[in-house]
């Protein structure tokens, strides 16, 4: 069977715009078919296959469900190499990054919980905007560079979301 494309596994056309509810429902149906629990009394070989299939299904689902991962996956399809860490030439965003970070540090120093809540809301808005912009350009070869730039921005905001969560955890101590 080889390794089918993540989209093909879900019988979807490659696209950035996905109905996440539908994706989740389909994931659950597929998981029902291949989960090792269905093969608890089957032969060792069948159990091993179920384990492998389940693992690749989970991997596909994790990738498709997260916008930055899905974006990256779409750009990497067709054999494009995309190194994880690069210095992106994106001066505007660099400036914005610094502002986000400074703000987060202030929130930490002041242990400002309502400030964190509003920071999270703004972060969400920024993420939604990025997603829309990416959806509009990823499939256009002429805008490839812009799509990659947007994908890196998405990755950064994703990381920032994680940092906010860690900050919340520290403030909870």
């Amino acid at each position: 069977m080889g390794t089918p494309c993540h989209f093909a596994l879900f019988e979807l056309q490659p696209s950035f715009t996905l109905d996440l509810e539908q994706l989740a429902a389909r994931y659950r149906e597929l998981a029902r078919g291949v989960h090792p629990d269905r093969f608890a009394d089957a032969s060792e070989r069948e159990q091993r296959l179920a384990l492998e299939r389940s693992a690749s299904l989970n991997e596909a689902y994790q990738t498709l469900k997260s916008p930055p991962k899905r974006a990256r996956y779409l750009l990497a399809m067709g054999g494009h190499e995309l190194p994880l860490e690069v210095t992106v030439h994106d001066p505007d965003f660099l400036l914005q990054q610094m502002q986000w970070r400074e703000e987060l540090e202030e929130l930490q120093d002041e242990a400002d919980l309502s400030g964190i809540a509003s920071f999270k809301r703004r972060l969400k808005v920024a993420q939604d905007q990025l997603n829309d912009s990416f959806a509009a350009c990823w499939n256009d070869a002429a805008q490839r560079e812009q799509a990659e730039r947007l994908m890196r921005r998405m990755q950064f905001l994703d990381k920032l979301t994680y940092e906010v969560r860690q900050l919340e955890e520290r403030l909870d101590d």
Binding site: E11, R28, E29, G33, P36, A40, D41, S43, R45, E46
Partner: protein, 620 residues
């Protein structure tokens, strides 16, 4: 061959025979075994009608005593009586000291880093002690249900790490149990409560046992239980409440903190009784020797407040990790005897803004859920309505990188099974080996993480630095157990290990224990091995026959089918004899000839799931 022809497609080729399987809650304080009887999941009682087996093991020179009588001997024979052994599972001597309590045992080192407890019967590892508890439960189940068990689902705290899970599985193996699945306790509880297929929504499971605390957030959708996040504290439980009360007695009575083991046990028993009494009364009189004083529920609440707060903090973290809001949680389930403490219920209700569910006995709910899943896994339910439990790994898994840092390969709360690869390269010209150090934990410094295993990839051909491409693959199975493979991609040199935790038993130790247990049981080793080979062969034959009956017409051509049927018949013949080696060889052969068929069946279930989906869409 005749066997195969009688069966209608989709039917079992043999007359319906219920395969006996049980759910076991191997708890810190108490253990239970449950099974499905007449469609109802219920705990199995012992000869005296008791369902709860205290997790207490007392070693005598010539026998082992397990349960209530052993527990009662804890104060009079503290060195030979092991309580709360679950807290020692998968732990090293250093960890055990850090548990912060004065354990009365004398520990000795073994081949591995695992602490062994010195008893009159010689050194006993926590795995052996747990196996002694499991053996009693297994015997109870076999005599109650009237037959040999196909297997068992054994529950573990969701927060158990790799080492603790492996230790639990080793204990089951020592007790002669076939583990169908290690199931997380909160998930088992959710199954017990959420049997209703129509149950939908986000559920929080708050599980405070004797020695561990777990919080899991699950999403229930049409029979699928998806764990969104799990967290907790593997060293927080009702025992800590007892210790808090004991500490209070020591302080109030002006006792020396340096008590002998017997006095310590006695003190803890008094503390535990006081705690239990305070569930129903506002104040209790505590008596220790000549000293007596009143302990009010309010004062008790104050003593345990730091621990309750710790549990709530873990709850908030799990909710954050699951990406749901607190008000989306539509039900809270209470599990574990310690959730009887009124302050605990009150605090949980305050936090989630709703009264928690407590209808099913919190001491039994885990075993009840485990039994339901065991019955499904044993193959008794195959109508498409079986529940599907999608669990996650509780702690991130990663590798040591340059500078003593941990690089995460699989982050915590990733759904299992999972496989993920990471590429590395050599940093010196001509480097021929690379050390792979596998870690578990959330912190950045490797010294703050748990070391799971180290192994070396050798034989890398000479290349310049950075030219080799070493792919390290992590694979976590449905039990949460890890397998790591390292492979140099240019040359194809490979090295892999089933991760044996640093604090686990060595294979040598397991072999010795198995041997001991055979001798102890007066069992003939050869007969036992033959029996195991026959069981394996029988299991495979049944699986193959069921598969052929279900999908043979569709997925096998006449030749393939004949080959399989011939091999089945051959194995059936061999099983009548006593040639274990021949049975083993033929089992392997049958497994090989059904390989391709197995793969086809699996792929076809994926297609069937999709086809069903498309049909629904058309109907809409």
């Amino acid at each position: 061959m005749a066997l195969l022809q009688i069966a209608e497609p989709g039917q079992s080729p043999q007359p319906h025979q219920r395969r006996l399987a049980v759910g076991i809650d191997l708890g810190t304080t108490n253990s239970l075994v449950a099974a499905l009887r007449s469609g109802l999941s219920e705990p199995l009682p012992d000869a005296d009608g008791q369902v709860i087996l205290p997790s207490a093991v007392r070693y005598h020179a010539d026998r082992v005593e397990v349960g209530q009588s052993a527990k009662r001997a804890a104060a009079s024979d503290p060195l030979n009586t092991v309580l709360s052994v679950k807290r020692l599972m998968g732990r090293g001597l250093e960890d055990v000291k850090q548990l912060g309590e004065q354990l009365p045992y004398r520990f000795v080192g073994g081949e591995s880093h695992m602490p062994f407890i010195e008893t009159v019967q010689g050194p006993k590892s926590p795995v052996e002690v747990s196996a002694d508890i499991l053996k009693v439960l297994r015997q109870r189940a076999e005599s109650t249900l009237g037959g040999e068990l196909v297997g068992a689902v054994i529950t573990v705290p969701a927060y158990f790490d790799e080492a603790q899970r492996q230790a639990t599985k080793d204990a089951a193996r020592l007790a002669g149990l076939n583990v169908l699945r290690l199931l997380n306790e909160p998930t088992a509880a959710a199954v017990a409560y959420g049997l209703d297929q129509n149950a939908e929504g986000v559920v929080a499971i708050y599980d405070l046992g004797g020695g561990t605390f777990d919080i899991s957030i699950l999403r229930l959708t049409g029979g699928v239980f998806e764990v969104l996040a799990t967290g907790g504290d593997s060293a927080l439980g009702g025992d800590d409440f007892d210790h808090a009360i004991a500490g209070w007695i020591i302080e109030q009575a002006g006792l020396s903190a340096d008590l002998d083991p017997g006095a310590q046990r006695h003190l803890l028993q008094i503390a535990c009784a006081a705690k239990e009494a305070l569930t129903d009364t506002a104040s209790v009189e505590v008596v220790y020797g000549d000293w007596r004083a009143a302990l009010s529920r309010e004062a008790f609440d104050g003593l345990i407040e730091p621990m309750v707060a710790r549990s709530l903090k873990a709850c908030r973290r799990a909710v954050r990790d699951s990406n749901v809001e607190l008000d989306e949680v539509s039900a809270v389930v209470m599990v574990g005897g310690s959730t009887r403490v009124p302050r605990v219920r009150e605090a949980v209700a305050e936090m989630f803004g709703r009264q928690p569910l407590t209808e099913i006995d919190p001491d039994q709910v885990v075993a009840i859920g485990a039994a339901i899943q065991a019955d499904t896994l044993a193959g008794n339910k195959r109508d498409g309505s079986e529940l599907l439990l999608l669990d996650v790994i509780p702690l991130s898994l990663g590798l040591e990188t340059m500078g003593g840092l941990m690089e995460k390969v699989i982050p915590r709360n990733t759904t299992i099974p999972v496989a993920r690869a990471q590429d590395f390269t050599t940093y010196k010209d001509g480097q021929s080996a690379m050390m792979i150090h596998v870690l578990q934990g959330e912190r950045e410094l490797i010294s703050d993480c748990r070391s799971l295993a180290r192994f070396e990839l050798r034989g890398i051909p000479a290349m310049v630095a950075g030219a080799a491409k070493i792919r390290v693959t992590f694979q976590v199975d449905a039990d949460g157990l890890l397998n790591v493979t390292a492979r140099e991609l240019v040359s194809g040199v490979e090295s892999s290990i089933q991760v044996k935790p640093s604090y686990g038993l060595t294979d040598g130790e397991i072999a010795r224990m198995l041997k001991d247990s055979f001798q102890h049981a007066g069992d003939d080793k050869v007969a036992r091995v033959l029996r195991e080979q026959q069981v394996d062969a029988q299991r495979l034959i049944e699986a193959v026959q069921a598969a052929v009956a279900a999908d043979g017409d569709r997925l096998l051509d006449a030749d393939e089918r004949m080959v399989i049927e011939m091999q089945v018949q051959e194995l059936t013949e061999l099983m009548k004899g006593t040639d274990g080696h021949a049975i083993e060889q033929q089992t392997k052969r049958l497994s090989q000839v059904t390989d391709a068929f197995a793969a086809r069946r699996l792929d076809s279930t994926v297609k069937a799931a999709l086809a069903g989906r498309n049909l629904n869409e058309i109907e809409e």
